[in-house]
Subunit: 268 residues, 2 copies
């Protein structure tokens, strides 16, 4: 079975995304932090990992953008996962008995409207969503609930008291698959790169024109600070097309002429 | 005395930045959250506020970008403040007596190298840096330290045991001044805007070309998710020049032709 590293406890949204991407024939390997996933894959302790890069409500997961720069890994796939939050309790616990609700701070925030109706219940931040289910299970907390996935509820033998309690159903997370070795799959359609530029007028515009001049569509742009040079940036760009395509190769060659740093993160 | 809203307790880095911007003749008004500053200025409870938009190591303060979109305020000034972290204790406490170190999680992270030498001391996250000094003062914690500014140490009558304990001295935060009424000062040199685009190929490139075609330099670009439309974005752009300049007015008029939303955040 293929081992796939993910962050959090069993039942995390990352695990669900990994199962949708690879199928159920995987061995999900829980890691405590994103950094440990990057190191684990880089040192070949595990053949691949899955990490979130972006949520449609919260935006980019900046830490993982920074880790993509520091580690020598390739993005070899991506999957967009709808995030459905559920109120999870010990089987038989009624909503009226719930005094504390555990979950990741972002999940608590994304369910604010629903939670405002449970006035007596205190919201308590936890390390991750599935970990909150594990906590109320292991500590036998029958006056508490957790917010997490259906998978987490069933893995720990707990009950979903209320499904889909998030404020906004347009809640998706884009996960990417990381591997030590680059591989462009036949159905790949986009490429991610990161680059930095000389601090000159028009530099960013010129860098984006290498794509526009070749009718290559930009899908996303993200900037992160360049340490040691205040107010200069690394730019992360996703564009349509893969590095097997000559037009894209030419664009990257052109970008190389004007960038001070350029790294291809992967075509997938 | 001019009232200026800032986030955190007295002695916060925001207060230091406000004093450098306005001079010492201000009345700093502490607010618990950034959101409360935006609401307070919007409802004219306080004439202006100061909030961080960007740190040279951690990147953009995403929450404040989102708040700029939701509230009707103008940016009327900015100041870049060097962040110097200090180890602060009750007067007379030696380093060897320190068992716990309180500060904002980001400050604890930015002083990791120094803190790794204090092996016996537990790092405890606090609400903010100056608040951590207030805490060890008020609770009489003579076996604890806080990480915060010189100003916080002197306001609470505490001692700086070690100055400048941050890993990287190139640590600057860019603060902006918010006001209910737009005002372009004579020495203004940049403008901040936010816009969204139709989801069409080349849309982002075309939007940036309105500046390049007029030799207007882009200083920063940031993207934030557009809620309800997964993988579409609001773009925040800073460019050189002010809205008093005809060339910039033309660029904005041009951008208006291709954007679905456009808001000028201020020239300053």
């Amino acid at each position: 079975m293929k081992k796939v590293a993910f962050q959090g406890e069993r039942g995390a949204y990352s695990e669900i995304a990994a199962r949708r991407f690879f199928g159920d024939e995987i061995e999900p390997v829980p890691y405590r932090t994103f950094e440990e996933i990057f190191s684990g894959v880089e040192r070949k302790r595990v053949p691949c990992g899955i990490v979130p890069l972006e949520n449609s409500l919260a935006g980019s997961v900046l830490q993982n953008y920074d880790l993509l720069l520091r580690h020598h890994l390739s993005i070899v796939g991506e999957i967009s996962q709808r995030i459905v939050h559920n109120l999870i309790v010990h089987p038989g616990t009624p909503a009226s008995a719930v005094r504390r609700i555990y979950s990741h701070p972002q999940a608590l925030m994304q369910c604010e409207k629903f939670l405002s109706r449970l006035k007596k219940a205190e919201k308590i931040p936890a390390y991750d969503t599935a970990g909150a289910v594990k906590l109320i299970k292991e500590q036998g907390l029958t006056d508490a609930a957790a917010i997490a996935s259906q998978l987490a509820a069933s893995l720990y033998g707990m009950e979903v008291l209320q499904e889909g309690i998030e404020n906004d159903p347009e809640n998706y997370t884009r996960f990417v698959i990381l591997s030590k070795t680059a591989a462009v799959t036949p159905n790949a359609k986009k490429t991610s790169i990161v680059f930095s530029l000389r601090n000159l007028p028009g530099a960013l515009f010129k860098s984006l024109s290498v794509f526009a001049l070749r009718d290559i569509d930009l899908l996303k742009i993200e900037s992160r600070p360049l340490h040691g040079k205040p107010w200069e940036y690394f730019f992360y760009v996703d564009f349509a097309g893969t590095m097997k395509n000559e037009n894209c190769q030419n664009a990257i060659k052109h970008l190389g002429e004007i960038s001070t740093y350029l790294k291809i993160l992967g075509s997938y």
